[in-house]
């Protein structure tokens, strides 16, 4: 029994990604003395926190068989709204709540389009991506916002038990949603829907409500990422969050979430984000040209998804 559990562990994607992370860490560590320093590691984790948190939301959406390409635009709107609120001197906890609520609201728009109106997720969110981005332009009026009060910046610079707040947020949310997906009935329903919407419906699962909920949760995650990004960068522009969704989807897929739905975990997606960040960071430290970074990330994503497909094929042949 124990042996099979161990074998199962080896087969899991999270295990493979962790392995690659360790190998890369050793490689970069031996090439650059700075890489394994506490400050650099902290730096990497702060960098991935916004992508990691958003990836938790994206994981749930992709597990249902959907996708959300409007994540970057949602992040943009939330960043603008919270930045404006910060300038009015609103207390930081309220700003955070405002960001989460705005994200939930925008997520519910996506969710309604997908579940109640039955628009394919890629089309629905492609539409809202453009729409939400237009709202960012409208809200900013072509200018940018900066020089936030320190109290707002503390969302990014503050510490809890000596750990930077964004990292705390990420781990806290990862734990909450791992519990949610693994142990709560509704969490299981998400996997069921990703496997077969029809079978889920016939099993008595309120599929539309669950789908709506997933997009709302994801919107909240994108909202939290938006607040963190605004606080960390100290500036909000019309292009804040543009292209963010692609990094999030890459991290999610790299972390073992099946792009066709039905499989995936929050922890895996955060590991995926970590792996991408380590490659970026390590290559800068060992002075590799910036061009190679995109090249290597592209290759890693394709190889990792390809190995999944190969594994699946082998599995299928075995039982035919």
């Amino acid at each position: 029994m124990k042996k099979t559990m161990l074998a199962e562990l080896f087969k899991r994607r999270e295990f493979t990604v962790t392995g690659i992370i360790i190998i890369l860490a050793i490689l970069f560590g031996s090439l650059s003395s700075n890489f394994l320093s506490i400050s650099n590691i902290t730096n990497i984790f702060i960098q991935i926190s916004s992508i990691g948190i958003a990836a938790i939301g994206m994981t749930m959406i992709i597990v249902t068989g959907g996708i959300d390409v409007s994540a970057g635009s949602i992040l943009g709107i939330v960043a603008v709204i919270t930045a404006k609120a910060a300038l009015t001197g609103l207390p930081t906890p309220l700003i955070l709540i405002l960001g989460i609520t705005t994200g939930a609201l925008l997520g519910s728009i996506n969710g309604s389009l997908v579940s109640f109106m039955g628009i394919p997720p890629i089309i629905a969110t492609l539409g809202t991506m453009s729409f939400f981005r237009a709202m960012v332009f409208q809200l900013l009026g072509g200018r940018w916002i900066s020089s936030f009060p320190d109290s707002f910046r503390r969302i990014s610079t503050g510490n809890f038990l000596n750990i930077p707040l964004p990292i705390c947020f990420m781990f806290f949310l990862a734990i909450i949603f791992t519990y949610y997906l693994e142990y709560r009935p509704t969490g299981r329903y998400i996997y069921a829907i990703g496997n077969s919407v029809e079978a889920a419906r016939v099993s008595g699962i309120p599929t539309k409500r669950v789908l709506l909920l997933v997009y709302i949760f994801a919107g909240m995650m994108f909202g939290i990422s938006g607040v963190i990004v605004a606080a960390r960068t100290g500036i909000v522009q019309t292009n804040t969050g543009a292209g963010f969704e692609l990094a999030v989807i890459a991290a999610t897929v790299l972390g073992g979430t099946n792009i066709l739905g039905g499989e995936g975990s929050a922890i895996g997606s955060i590991l995926g984000a970590l792996l991408l960040a380590i490659i970026t960071n390590g290559m800068i430290l060992v002075n590799l040209p910036a061009l190679t970074e995109g090249l290597i990330i592209g290759i890693i994503i394709i190889i990792s998804v390809f190995t999944d497909i190969m594994k699946l094929r082998r599995r299928r042949y075995q039982y035919e």
Binding site: Y179, Y183, R184, P185, R188, Y189, Y191, A192, N195, S196, E198, A199, A200, R201, V202, S203, G204, I205, P206, G262, E263, R314, Y317, Q318, Y319, E320
Partner: protein, 508 residues
Amino acid sequence: MNSFFKAEKIVKKFGGVRAIKGVNFELKRGEVHALVGENGAGKSTLIKIISGVIQPNSGKLFLDSKEIKLLNPKNAHEMGIATVYQDPLIYKSLSVIENIFLGNEIKTKSGTIDWKKQEVKTKELLVSLGIKPNFINRPISSLSIGLQQLALIAKALNYLAKILIFDEPTAILTEIEAERLFKVIRKLKKQKVSILYISHRLEEIFEIADRVTVFKDGKNEGTFNVKDINRDKIVELMAGKALTENIERTMKINRAKNKLPIIEVKNISSCYYKNISFSLYPGEILGFSGLIGSGRTEVMQTLFGLIKQDEGEIFFNGNKFKVNDPSIAMEHGIVYLPADRSSEGLFSKLSVKFNISIPLLKKLKKKFLQVDREAEENLALKYIKLLKIKAPSTSTILSNLSGGNQQKVLFAKWLSTKPKVLILDKPTKGVDVEVKVEIHREIVKLAEEGVTIILVSSELPEIIKLSDRIIVMHEGTITGRFDTKETINSKNLLSAATGTRMIHAKIN
């Protein structure tokens, strides 16, 4: 008759497991040769080898005494070997003509498609099968499954097929459609086409085949002339032991006058059916017979809340019952076992345990509202034992089980909810004889325990054997109601199913 196609000492391994263990097999010119065996006996592997989909690890294939190598399906086509699979492989939105000629188009001198010639040829092919070619310009998905299959047979003949392989062709057909298929097969036989016919329905073999080969555990248990063998002997060879298929319900229901119906359907109509009324009494097995597409399934889906009726009312225990979602039906103890287990019934990428517990999850909650994993495990183990599900563990991924065992998991999933009304839509579709018998026993046992059952089936022997009463539908309306031993027989059911006459027995 001399041997036309021969397979010698074929071995095929999948990941170390030998699916076929040195099989010899021969096919004569112009014969109908049936291949039978339980699920997993190696039939499918053999036909995949013959049709070039997979290659054997060792062994030889001969056609007309010459050794042949089949590296891919195209090779097989070129040799005149074609296969008609269980679920028709079609290009849904293309017309029948396009489906027949796709990849094999007739071209004009300038290299464009010669539609006229293709149309003429399609008509010829269908006429040679005895079918009226009045549907060849329609998209193939608008045809019934039976006609789709015939179109694919025409496609195979267009390849000048000398060997035609049928993989459970009647599993998705109604009796009428099957009869038409048999006529076509007899025609093909006259044209000297050799036919390899795989089926779980043993009755068919005696109707259509000349010889039969029995497979068991990847070995050929023997080839016999159909004249020299009987059904019991075949079953014995397949299972390795004699199986009795006789179930007598010890307690036929006693629909006393004071018993009220648990469900009453009054004049419901929708675009799938018209004016449907019937009553369902506690503890009975009510059969629903008819052709595929007669609206039976849609009536059941209405009872379960998957489809809404436009008119009419449904009563549950005398109270008006508005069921616009499956969760409402489930709260009342009504569950529906769908006909299509792979897309509607089960989650094939998830574990056995997940599949069994999903409708019950909310009830398995304990501290912190989380799912009680131990209770879930025990629930799965209980039903694995009860229904004799062959699975290595409760965590096994469902798609790794055989079809019959998946069907049992589907049963377990709904039995675990302790239903009052169990709607079974073709519960033995695509399972082997042994599992079928087990499922029949389970249905009778449940009825005796007081569960009310609606059984939808396209197999007349099944529905006749199990049902207390039978309702027959044809093109969306009820065309027959039978409730006595004397009236429940295949002749009556068939004539009602084809709509040739309205039969109202004394009930209602």
